[in-house]
Symmetry: C2
Subunit: 300 residues, 2 copies
Amino acid sequence: MRDKFVNFIENLQDKITETLENIDGEAKFHQDLWERPEGGGGRTRVIENGAVFEKGGVNISKVHGALAPAMQQYFKVGDVDFFACGLSLVLHPKNPYAPTVHANWRYFEMFEKDGTLVDSWFGGGQDLTPYYLFEEDAKHFHEVSKAACDAHEKTFYPEYKKKCDEYFHNAHRGEARGIGGLFFDYLKATETQSMQDWYNFVTQVGDSFLSAYVPIIERRKDLPYGERERNWQEVRRGRYVEFNLVHDKGTLFGLKTNGRIESILMSLPPVVQWKYDHHPEPGSEEEKLVEVLKNPKDWA
Amino acid sequence: MRDKFVNFIENLQDKITETLENIDGEAKFHQDLWERPEGGGGRTRVIENGAVFEKGGVNISKVHGALAPAMQQYFKVGDVDFFACGLSLVLHPKNPYAPTVHANWRYFEMFEKDGTLVDSWFGGGQDLTPYYLFEEDAKHFHEVSKAACDAHEKTFYPEYKKKCDEYFHNAHRGEARGIGGLFFDYLKATETQSMQDWYNFVTQVGDSFLSAYVPIIERRKDLPYGERERNWQEVRRGRYVEFNLVHDKGTLFGLKTNGRIESILMSLPPVVQWKYDHHPEPGSEEEKLVEVLKNPKDWA
């Protein structure tokens, strides 16, 4: 399973970065190979100052070793070893009409020092963070995500859509980070789903990513915009930073367990503003977005 | 003690905002009076887009009511009431050669539902976050802080300077937020220090703030700078955001206990950048700053 999933994310990283470079037309991904002193490493690919993508990262990592004490406590296990691999991406387009997107697909194992498997599961998801609401885009992103779920089990989409709305929630602002998508975790073997079934599901979701996002970025990347839209995008990016640094478990665990800081924080937007007590004008397009973030909708 | 300290912070807020408006010469503080539904309220004063101050807040608050469950757990107490008041300020100058400054002086009480005092203490401090290191400025800020301490007890400055270096530490970056200053908390009555003694100490530190910061901002506010210095300032401001959102206990408690979000997050800088894997050039002025943040120095 390890080798199969590592192979999957390696190929998917290639496919995604190649497609995104073609869309951008100017910037190329810069690759950093890194090693983790305690075991494993990763292939970080970052794009910056492109024609379409102002900043983005499409990273894979495959790490293993002793489970850090903070993680042992979190998972309520003893002194075990772990193996984790995954692909994690965040894209911040330049155009305020084009949404930021985040996705992650991962596989995790814990085992005793003698190699006996203790537990294993898949996790991940994909979610969209627009600065202006195009219902057509939200519907498209959710419908592609739903189709990937429905191919496996009709209950998956409603369940993982709800989990996504719950997880990517900026509680201190009383609003969602974006218009959601899918979020799933601890997908473990059950009577009805083997690990192979979960592998099939997670890889189908991963393979659906480009068809979920590419039509949206193609439609929005060249729309004309001005200072107003750019300011709004930068202020909203502040909310993205707030979520990632205050609430996102993955980011916080990474920071507290000596993860590779630059790969973790590549998710942060390139240029961000914080204005005091900023509110969109009543009846504006900006307010329309905030309304949907305060009251998540069903899109598919 | 409550009334005395409230009176002190009200007057100090007036004095500080008046002085800063004179330095800025263009922008005025905008005042928001707010009420806390559960008891108390505050007087938030924010300056934005000034000639000198790009963003800043000088806020006082006086709140009371039942201690939130999260805070009960933190303080290891039962279902008690609390009273808290304080002045909190953050100033982000426009000029990259002028340092950001933060200060806070506060008084806290916990008491039983029948009004019996359970505990009370003072806390606070003041610290400087430069983007370029001027040793003269660092020395001045620390010497004024030290003088305010030394007037009370020779052990205070070394103790609170050290606490400041420890507290304002961006652990995930392995560097300090700035060049430090003073940080103290839980200043409670002892055999040698009465609450009145602590009041005298904390108010003397508060009264020293303007003489610690004003000469520095006056020296740096008009220095010529270019895009390089501005970019560096915005990248370093990212570290400020990281500290406040990942590590700062006050911010996190505020966000998790339904504090007034806009008053809490007014500390965040106005314009911020995150670049992937950004490092200052070897031997540059930018690197000189980072060296000092990695290895805090004695300045006084």
